[in-house]
Structure formats: C-alpha cells, structure tokens
Subunit: 327 residues, 2 copies
C-alpha cells in the first residue's frame, strides 16, 4: 500500500462508542493530536451513523489544517464483532447493528483505505503497546463506558479465538436472569455494570422516591445522566449514586474474578471513560471483590491496573491497526 | 530419568475426584488397562486421602500382577490448583484441601517419581491428544462429575495462565448470590450444575413434597444419590429428576456461552461421569442455551462435542503427564 510519500501521511483513528464517536490524528509515534468527539446518535440507524463517522474523520482532518489526501489510512474500532475479510460489522448490540458493510461504505465516502477491528481488542492492544511497553505475555482489557468492551492480547497479538469473537467481556453472564442486556440476553456484565446500566438503576431508585442531588443537578431531566454528573454527585457525597457506582464495581470485580479463574492473565487493564471518571470509588471494590472470587492465591499473581490512556485507548488502538495494515 | 529399562516400565495414572479415586495402568500408547475405582472419603482429611491414593496405586499395580518396581512414574490429576515446583496442592475446594504436600507424601509412600497437575487440565489434554488427534488450536474442556473441572489446551499445550490457575471453569460465577459453592463463594458453576448441586436440588424438592421414583429406588436414603440412580429415574420418566438435570444443563449452556464470548475456542469438549451418564438429556439443552448466549454467529464456529473418553479422561491425562515428565 505505501507508495511515494504514503508513509509520511497521517493516520486517523476512530472509536465508535454507544454515545460518542471519537477521532484522533497521528503522524508518528502514538501521541494522538486533535482528539474530537461527536455524538453517535445510533437511534438514527446504521446508515446515518456511518455518515457521522465519515463526517468525524473529515472534521478531524480539517481541524488539523489537512486534507483527506494527507491521510494514509483510517482505523475504526467498533463495539461489536467484525469480519475483517468482508469489512462488515456482523453485530454491534449497543448500536443495534447487524451486518453493516461499514468498510465499504466508509471507503466510498472518504476515498481512503479503512481498517476495522473490535474496539475492545484495539483498546487492549493500545494499553499493551503504550502503557505496558509490549511486555506482558497476556493482557485482558476491560473498558467501561456506555457499555462494556473487552479484549485479550496474547503474546503480542490480539487474540480473536477460532474466528473473531473472543474477548467479549461485556456479554459474559454473571447474573442469570438479571437485567436485560442490549444483546437480548439477561444478566450480561454490560447490563449490570456499564453506564447505561448504572443510569437505569439510578432512574429506578428515583422513581421509588430515593433522594439524590442529581434531581437538582439535571433539573429533573433524568434521561441523560452523564459521567460528569455522576462525578459531581459523588463529590457531593450523594448516597444513592455512591451505592449504585459501588454495585457496578462489585459486578466488575466478579467479572475480573471469572477472568482470573478462566484465563489468569498477567495483567488486567481497566479503562474507559466511566472507569476513569469514578475509579477512586470503583477500583478498591473491584480489587477486593476479584480477590474474593478468584481461586485462592491466584488473584495476587495477576496485576490489576487502571489504564492511563483514558478516553484515548480505542483511538490509539485504531491508529495502531491502520498503521500495521499499511506498513 | 529413563535409565536401563525404565522406558519399558508401566506408568500409572490417577484421577482424584470429589467422590472417587480412579487409577489405570499404561504400558504403551494411551489405552488404559486395569481401571480401578476407590472411594475418596475426603471427609477423613487430607492425610487419609493421600494414604488412599497410595493404596489405589498399589492395588492397581497388584491387580495387573506387577510390583511397584515395574512402575516408571505416577501421574496424579487433582481437582484444584497445583504448584508443580513444590509439589503442593495449593487448594482443592471439593476436597477441602489447603496446602497439601501431595507429591512429597506420595513419593515417600510409594518410592516412585510422582507428577501432579490440575485434573481438568489433564483431562482436556487427553481429549486433545486422543480424540482430537492433536489438531485443534484451542480446546476448552468441561468435565462434570461430583463437581466441575475444566482446562484449556492452546497450541498443543496446557494453558495455565500467568502461573497456574487458568481453566477453572467450575468457579466461574454465573449466578451472583446463587447457591453456595464449596470454594466459599456463591453462584459458581460448580455449585449450580455439578452432581452435588443437582442432588442438593433434588433433596430440597423432596423435602418440599415433590414426588420422585428416587424415594423408592433409594429406599428413602437420599444422602447418596449416584449417577446410576439419576439415569434410572430418567429412564422411568421421573419429572423431578428430569427438571433438575435440565436446569444443570441450562447453567452449563450459559457457561459454554461465556467461554465462547471470552475465549472462542475451536473445540469445547464436554466430559465427566455425570455428563456421560445423562448426556442425551443435557447435550441438546447445553447446545441450545450456549447458542442463545454466545454473540450472534459465534457459537456455530466452535465445535461442541461430548468426550468419548468417558470416565477415563483424567487418568489418561495423568498417564500422558507422567510419560512426558520421564521421557
């Protein structure tokens, strides 16, 4: 693929999340310049979201005073199962996508080579390469945002399983018959511990008359509780929000325990915007719960750590992908 | 280790289960001769069980008209976490063992080299080598007996994780706050789907007045419901036993779905004596449930199959271990 000055061009990384599309540019190394956010608006349907992804790429390039001609490739992280051969998103429950020919449509809209991968896999790869300096033999990533993504890097490479769907931590059932998940099943981690799940619990409690500062903070409009609102409520010592955040943390701790018992990775990285925002409340509980649920002695041989990449892990991973594929 | 005619000697394989100690001899190939069973009697404590394991080995050798001098090595599969360096069993919840120096004690009793490994790992290795002809890249084994053991073989070798506890399927939590497990936690697969769990559910239902042919079959003594009793009850069309067996199968199906979502192995092998005995009732439900819980399309890319090794998988795995370690 690299011809002429292709290797000098920038690469664009995109993370498609349940509520935000994040983009970033990278010329060399793995420092993201010009990070931008755009609402996903998944309720408008797949075609509209693909249009918004293309717009996000164009905006990012324009903000950097560049043109699409200056771009070597685009990497896209998707919260679902991706068929790298056909370029289709087989399913992305949080976006309600089934069989969306994302690569083809984006390449047509942008006139650029596009590469796709599960965003949990990409974020884990980013954590492995950037913050773990490509050292651990096995890294499991768990990223908590609107929903929960995950990935596994084994011996330096994304581990996809027999075909591609490994690492889907968000759809591990930990509470049979529990809360309804966007995938159609019940009791998945995603439906118990992600931001959507947390907000649902908070709204339910408010309906049941439990007091919270959120009612004032959001002026009664509880439809959209943002991570920053949760943080404000925690700072104000709000008991309801604190209890709900701790419950999410306990579910995450059980999931970490399960992963230790099944995979026993060298490092487990916790990231994502919700994790980053409320990690001081969540991390100790996740740690304590995982230690309790892992087989005796085995938890302490894993390293559980917060990702320092924050919101950027998925975008950095997408940049790594685009660069690897055009190297 | 092989000196003189060492390589001509037999190898003894031992599987230590929650209710039975199984032994078998092997001169060459992987055909087990003289399989024997002895009750574990774990309630007598670790020292007594170790004595019984030694006795089981001696009996097996004697039954084959051989002496301990004719034995090259003993392989032992243990239902817990094993420290191969020190030869200690770090923990084996179903036996209530903590830090038992099994290898040292057995070597002292038998005067033979002893090698140990988690029995789920060994049984998976046996399934991989014997029935799968060492072909699949990833094999997850799930063995349902008194409790539930598991193991993962990746690229031809037992995958132990960062140190040793990977593959512990039995202690994956699938029902937070559910039935109490022998490990001290609640809602582990072991406490929901193993034979102990199943029997507990049956006893509970009988206490609540539900009718079952087991009451007659066992003459009112419900303390020890054996796998053969369950089979008889199923053949008699007993609705209670059928419902309880199907419930175990549903939990196993959810666990298989979780494994597909996390690891996506090429083959998942189901084995163990309870699975073997009631597979006609369980297998279709496990399959259907796993398909529902795995991410769309991903289950059909795994091969779910019943092990043909039956009761012998652990013993064959122990033979493979002993042979590999003295090769």
């Amino acid at each position: 693929m690299p011809q002429n000055n292709e290797h000098l061009k920038v690469v664009v990384g995109v993370e498609v999340g349940g509520s935000k599309i994040r983009t970033g540019l990278c010329r060399e190394g793995l420092k993201i310049t010009r990070p931008l956010k755009l609402s996903t608006k998944s309720e408008r349907g797949a075609a509209a979201v693909v249009g918004r992804i293309a717009r996000a790429v164009r905006d990012a390039v324009d903000e950097a005073d560049l043109a699409l001609d200056d771009v070597r490739a685009v990497g896209v992280g998707v919260p679902g199962i991706v068929d790298a051969d056909t370029g289709s998103v087989i399913c992305a429950p949080s976006l309600r996508w089934d069989d969306v020919p994302l690569r083809q449509q984006l390449e047509k809209e942008l006139g650029l080579p596009v590469f796709m991968e599960n965003v949990g896999n990409l974020a884990t790869l980013a954590a492995y390469m950037v913050e773990l300096k490509s050292k651990p033999a096995t890294v499991q990533g768990i990223f908590v945002g609107t929903g929960i993504n995950g990935g596994l890097v084994y011996q330096g490479e994304i581990y996809r399983g027999v075909n591609r769907s490994a690492g889907e931590v968000g759809h591990m059932v930990v509470a049979v018959g529990g809360a309804k998940c966007c995938c159609g099943n019940k009791g998945c981690l995603d439906a118990l511990a992600g931001r959507n799940a947390l907000n649902e619990r908070i709204r339910e409690a408010i309906k049941n008359g439990e007091p919270t500062v959120l009612t004032d903070l959001l002026d009664g409009d509880m439809k959209r509780i943002r991570t920053s609102d949760l943080r404000k409520a925690l700072r104000a010592g709000d008991p309801l929000v604190e209890a709900c955040v701790k419950e999410s943390a306990r579910f995450l701790g059980i999931a970490v325990g399960n992963i230790v018992n099944l995979i026993h990775p060298e490092v487990i990285v916790l990231g994502g915007d919700m994790m980053e925002a409320v990690s001081d409340k969540m991390f100790p509980i996740i740690q304590e719960t995982a230690r309790k649920y892992a087989m005796p002695g085995s938890f302490d041989e894993c390293r559980l750590q917060l990702s320092v990449l924050g919101d950027n892990a998925g975008v950095i991973g997408a940049v790594i992908l685009a660069r690897q594929m055009t190297a």
